[in-house]
């Protein structure tokens, strides 16, 4: 490893602009003649739109236009799509209602747009929006999954009778039933995985700029995947053909999944820009984020696990109701199916699994992928169940896990996934040692003497990342391939530009991706720059989500690097009159091994571009590209253990210690990996203790601001004790597994297991607020 190569804690190159206020986010951009959009959104969870009267608004100063849902339908802008087809157990395709960008007839959740005001300033657009009169006829609404599937419940979409999108199954029901018939013990658990609002700190924003002469659109948007946005806007929403649509995602202030999706506001801004003939800017406020950014989680699950007399798991049965909200968002259908139920084996040998997932429409904000996407729900369920089982079977929870760990790899689970490698004992051992698990009883007794309830909670998570092998996901219904592309451009002076289809919105790609180049060529990272986030610069890419950028995106860069290096070696060998096989690359030089003959990278690059003396038949230039499609998912795994103290008088939980032992395969930059884990852990802790997107029975959101929705703040969470155990991923040449989601996947079960251990009661739903914990302690 060089000082800036793989494994080095290189300080981030991108930081200077962020710490000096020079980041360039969408809302920071101003275009000449730019207008401002303000959406008129439904205050009702379910209503008919009878009439929209914009006559008064149109007379107000600075108003350019008021555009409605009917107009966008009339102009044949496409309805929003769901990109993953799921088939129900009866063989029928999933049942979806239409989702127009603005509602022409019916609104189905609070916050759905019905019209937009375009004006000379944001304030003038807001003023005019107050004067637009929308006549609604309220309809009965339903927000809860169980209420939504009852007969007589309000119906959202005629296409989906009973509000059911699909009833999907996975696994072998017969084998699972047989395991339960022979079980020595059966452990049952009902859990709710609470609905969350993603809340990236930068609210979504879009600027659309239509050039009438070129019939060309430019869209600046807060996206994790600008090429996917262009593809969808072009192929499905009829905005413009791809070569007439440039999508730029500049600095993006966090995503966590919520900025994967192509939202109505982007479609409307593009369409409106052409209609009014001027650039249109929209920047959401925080309440709009709560109302319209796709939410996460919201599962209600009943699960049963069968054990034999030796406490070995023999079967696992799961039934989950997934709340999709009012419309099927872009990847929503895959989250509670192929991203959730395929992980139900956890870290354990489970011979038979059967899961049924029922997807349900409700009058709430659409739900889609949020950090972890399905895998946190699976991990939480399994790890709560393991803890429940340990309590019921009266064995140590860590030992019960150890008894059931998968120890032979590769391991084919009964639910599609084939785990390639791992060492679950190693991460459990590391975490137990770090928290002094053996010393816990003494600490608990000590706390008890001071009137406090001490608890310890284990969570052994596994996830499927490096999303994803295209052929595999295609066979499961995905509408896209999930490879990544890269291009390596060596400039004539020897500096290097890496173009990537991955998108950084906090992950630090501008540093870590350069570290691969530094590792291979021995050049400083300052000589390398990363180009991303612009469809005019990068040919194509699938973007960043599912902890895929290092495992898939960086591997694509590696493949392009190998091609470039091969050509460069030929040029160097020709110049040095040596054999290509004898050329090695060290410290920015191409050397003839075993001699002192060498040529520096800039001279090789210059030779490639002057083309005065290249090997016969070689094309000039030094630029190579690659598309990399992974052969399997990657399987990051680890153990989190937290120790908490609960005050029985107030129900408040305090952290004593929180340790994490993760296996992410090879680490490119441990500093950045640790940062990813810290952030993920706090999102998991936030779910466990604080966060809950709540609707009342009529579909009114009651947590639509930071005043009402409890975001984790600095004094809600502890500092963390992190360590790594490493098994290299055999599926990619760098051995990388991915680290972006682990914390959010594993943390919440550790917290709830610790609190329930402390209070001596097993049933406690998230978020475990002081009020809820106090009531649980004092319940009869």
């Amino acid at each position: 490893m060089g000082v800036e190569g793989i494994g080095a804690r290189v300080v981030r190159k991108e930081d200077k602009r962020f710490i000096t206020g020079k980041g360039r986010y969408v809302d920071d951009i101003k275009l000449m003649g730019m207008t401002h959009a303000h959406f008129i959104r439904s205050p009702h969870a379910h209503a008919k739109v009878k009439k929209i009267d914009s006559s008064a608004a149109l007379k107000m100063p600075g108003v350019v236009a008021v555009l409605t849902g009917q107009q966008i339908v009339d102009d044949k802008v496409g309805n929003l799509i769901c990109g993953w087809a799921i088939t129900s157990k009866d063989g029928s395709p999933m049942k979806m209602g239409a989702w127009p960008a603005m509602a022409p007839e019916t609104v189905r959740f609070v916050g759905q747009a019905v019209a937009v005001v375009i004006a000379e300033s944001k304030n003038l657009a807001r003023d005019a929006a107050e004067a637009v009169v929308v006549d609604y006829e309220e309809l009965p609404a339903v927000a809860d999954v169980h209420a939504a599937i009852k007969s007589g419940a309000p119906q959202l979409h005629p296409e989906a009778p009973g509000n059911q999108v699909y009833d999907w199954v996975i696994g072998d029901e017969g084998a699972t039933d047989a395991a339960f018939a022979k079980a020595a013990n059966v452990v049952k658990l009902d859990v709710t995985n609470n609905r969350l609002a993603p809340n990236a700190m930068e609210p979504r924003a879009a600027i659309a700029d239509y050039d009438a002469a070129e019939e060309h659109f430019t869209l600046y948007t807060t996206s994790q995947n600008p090429h996917v946005a262009r593809l969808v806007l072009s192929a499905f929403y009829n905005i413009a053909p791809e070569h007439k649509l440039r999508v730029i995602a500049p600095d993006v202030g966090g995503g966590f999944g919520s900025k994967i999706f192509i939202y109505p506001e982007e479609m409307v801004a593009l369409w409106a820009s052409k209609k009014v003939g001027r650039p249109v800017k929209w920047t959401g406020d925080r309440t709009e984020a709560f109302l319209t950014d796709a939410h996460g989680r919201d599962h209600v699950t009943h699960a049963e696990m069968a054990f034999d007399a030796n406490n070995k798991i023999t079967g696992f049965k799961v039934k989950t109701y997934a709340n999709f909200g009012a419309y099927m968002s872009l990847f929503s259908s895959s989250v509670p199916t192929y991203l959730y139920a395929t992980l139900l084996s956890g870290q354990y040998n489970i011979p038979a699994i059967h899961a049924e997932v029922i997807g349900v429409y409700t009058n709430t904000t659409p739900v889609d992928a949020y950090r972890g996407a399905g895998r946190p729900e699976a991990s939480y369920l399994i790890e709560r169940l393991m803890e429940t089982a340990a309590r019921q079977l009266k064995v140590d929870p860590a030992e019960l896990r150890r008894t059931n760990f998968i120890t032979q790899f590769p391991h084919q689970t009964p639910v599609i996934m084939a785990y390639d490698t791992g060492d679950f004992n190693a991460s459990l051992d590391a975490a137990m040692k770090a928290i002094d698990y053996a010393g816990f009883p003494a600490r608990k007794a000590q706390a008890k003497s001071q009137g406090k309830l001490r608890g310890i909670g284990v969570s052994c998570y596994i996830e499927a990342c490096g999303i994803a092998p295209s052929k595999a996901v295609g066979s499961l219904g995905a509408g896209v391939g999930l490879w990544e592309s890269a291009e390596v451009r060596v400039n004539p002076v020897g500096t290097i530009e890496i173009l990537t289809g991955s998108h950084s919105h906090g992950q630090g790609h501008e540093t870590t991706f350069c570290q691969l180049v530094a590792e291979r060529l021995g050049v400083p990272v300052s000589q390398v720059s990363i180009v991303h986030g612009d469809t005019d610069k990068v040919q194509f890419g699938m973007g960043t989500y599912g902890s895929r950028s290092a495992a898939v995106g960086l591997t694509a860069i590696l493949k392009a690097m190998e091609k470039m290096e091969s050509k460069a070696k030929k040029i160097a060998a020709h110049a040095l009159e040596a054999s290509e096989a004898d050329i090695v690359i060290e410290n920015g030089e191409f050397k003839v091994t075993g001699t002192d003959k060498a040529i520096a990278l800039p001279m090789v690059a210059l030779a490639a571009y002057t083309a005065h003396n290249l090997p016969d038949g070689m094309e000039p230039g030094l630029k190579e590209s690659a598309f990399y499609d992974p052969t399997n998912f990657t399987f990051p795994a680890g153990t989190y253990i937290c120790e908490v103290e609960v005050d029985p008088g107030t129900g408040k939980t305090s952290f004593v210690n929180f340790v994490a032992a993760d296996d992410f395969g090879r680490l490119i930059n441990p500093m950045i990996v640790e940062g990813q884990v810290h952030g993920g852990l706090v999102q998991g802790i936030g779910q466990a203790l604080l966060e809950h997107a709540i609707y009342d029975a009529n579909g009114q959101p009651v947590t639509a601001s930071f005043m009402d929705y409890a975001m984790p703040r600095a004094d809600d969470v502890p500092s963390f004790n992190l360590s790594h155990t490493t098994t290299l991923c055999p599926g990619n040449p760098l051995g990388i597994k991915g680290c972006g989601e682990a914390g959010a996947i594993g943390a919440s079960a550790a917290v709830i297991n610790a609190i329930t251990d402390a209070i001596g009661k097993n049933n406690l739903e998230m978020p475990a607020t002081p009020d809820r914990v106090w009531r649980t302690i004092h319940a009869a």
Partner: protein, 161 residues
């Protein structure tokens, strides 16, 4: 419309604004100082924190007119040329930022915290004092480290002056 006269990052400016203009709008929209961010609309997130006459304020929560005659310092105004403020350097060196959106407000709040406590800070105090700044990326671990690190650096740089 009113004319607001104030000093921003050491420069005297006079800006004609609608009376309802917020200080953050004056900074971002009129002076193009886009380092100060807006992350919420309820004074909760702290992405908009700037210094007014040396004290941290949420610039989304006051009218531009309330800053008439005041001296405002934004994230763009704390480095001395190419030399970063010790808090900026500490955030970079401790990986105290990821997406960067909350960072300007965090840094401005953190400088104010160090000033108020005369650099005598511990982890619990930093965590309690950061109550008005929300970060969704870092889990705060490295932000807390950065503030404690900078508290030491600021003492050293003050001693040097």
């Amino acid at each position: 419309m009113s004319t607001v006269k104030l000093t921003v990052n050491g420069k005297a400016v006079a800006v004609d604004v609608e009376d309802r203009t917020l200080l953050v709008q004056l900074l971002r929209d009129h002076l193009n100082l886009t380092g100060t961010h807006v992350g919420c609309d309820t004074s909760q997130c702290g992405a908009c924190v700037v210094h007014m006459d040396g004290k941290a304020v949420k610039s989304c929560t006051m009218l531009a007119g309330q800053a008439d005659g005041a001296s405002i310092t934004t994230i763009e105004g704390i480095a001395k040329g190419d030399e970063l403020h010790p808090m900026q350097a500490a955030f970079r060196d401790n990986h105290g930022l990821q997406c960067g959106y909350c960072t300007p407000g965090m840094i401005m709040s953190a400088i104010d915290i160090v000033h108020r406590y005369g650099g005598q800070l511990d982890e619990a105090t930093v965590r309690a004092e950061l109550e008005g700044n929300i970060c969704r990326c870092t889990g705060y671990h490295n932000i807390v480290k950065a503030v404690l690190d900078a508290a030491g650096r600021m003492k050293v740089s003050q001693a040097a002056e």
